[in-house]
């Protein structure tokens, strides 16, 4: 069981190194997803399956997709159509594919052991987390709700483009 932990940790470190050394943002995000998945496997081995699921859903799902949306909205000039054809060459996806195959084989091995025997420590299941979250930490939950509200309002305020009012007689309109 020690070995699965070390392999997943090594995959996480290697993919994070690849993230900070890529020049193309999309390639870096591909490796970032692999890094998050490796950390999810580490969380599962450490006995935190709920945190592992949240890592996949929110980090690898929501946050990375949000960053990809923004990159597509920016519509960077140097990334033209012919470069998009070059993106799908094998050397782009072979690295992430090898790392994810390592993670997949590890996951299959852990599942084949059955039950919680793939977990090193004691499993802290969702029930305890929920009881703790809505018991002693209820103030923190409310504060994080307020934080998310502030985030929504801030993102809307910052992301809004200022509407430029062009008056027909006072200002010359470029045609």
């Amino acid at each position: 069981m020690q070995l699965t932990f070390y392999i997943a940790g090594a995959v996480a470190i290697i993919s994070t190194i690849m993230v900070i050394t890529r020049f193309n943002v999309i390639h870096a995000l591909l490796y970032l997803v692999v890094s998050f998945m490796a950390l999810a496997v580490v969380f599962f081995i450490l006995g935190a399956p709920f945190a592992a699921a949240l890592e996949i859903i929110i980090y690898a799902g929501a946050i990375v997709v949000l960053i990809i949306f923004v990159i597509m909205m920016l519509n960077l000039k140097e990334e033209a159509v012919d470069q998009e054809k070059k993106w799908l060459t094998p050397d782009v996806y072979v690295g992430p594919a090898i790392l994810t195959i390592i993670l997949l084989s590890e996951l299959i091995y852990i599942i084949s052991l059955g039950g919680a025997s793939g977990v090193v420590g004691q499993v802290v299941d969702v029930k305890d987390v929920g009881k703790s979250l809505y018991g002693p930490y209820i103030l923190g939950v409310e504060l994080s709700g307020m934080l998310l509200m502030a985030g929504i309002v801030g993102a809307y305020h910052l992301g809004r483009k200022k509407k430029k009012v062009v008056h027909r007689f006072l200002e010359k309109i470029e045609e």
Partner: protein
């Protein structure tokens, strides 16, 4: 859960945090800087999970959920700022934002 596992888990968290810090320092593209901040937050969450697993208490996972919430709010505001900087300065260079006025 033996001591070696806790030590190596915390070492993994420290290594990921240092990689994120190095990424913030060496990259000038602000999208990369945001991604590296995400990596650092994630490694902090890993440290909480390791500690919660050491004492088999749910508090570590609760703290991880709070970090997750904070990261989600941070990335939305940060991406809105990136959109605004790209709209105003027509570049993604982080150094170009030092001439920001008002």
């Amino acid at each position: 859960m033996n001591e070696i596992q806790v030590t190596s888990g915390l070492l993994l968290a420290a290594a990921l945090f240092m990689l994120g810090l190095i990424g913030v320092l060496i990259r000038r593209n602000i999208i990369f800087m945001l991604v590296c901040v995400e990596i650092m937050l994630n490694s902090a969450g890993l440290a909480f999970i390791v500690a919660g697993s050491k004492w088999t208490q749910p508090d570590g996972q609760v703290m991880f959920i709070f970090i997750l919430t904070m990261a989600a709010a941070e990335v939305s505001v940060g991406l809105a700022l990136i959109l605004q900087i790209h709209h105003q300065l027509k570049t993604l260079d982080g150094d170009a934002a030092n001439s920001m006025r008002g």
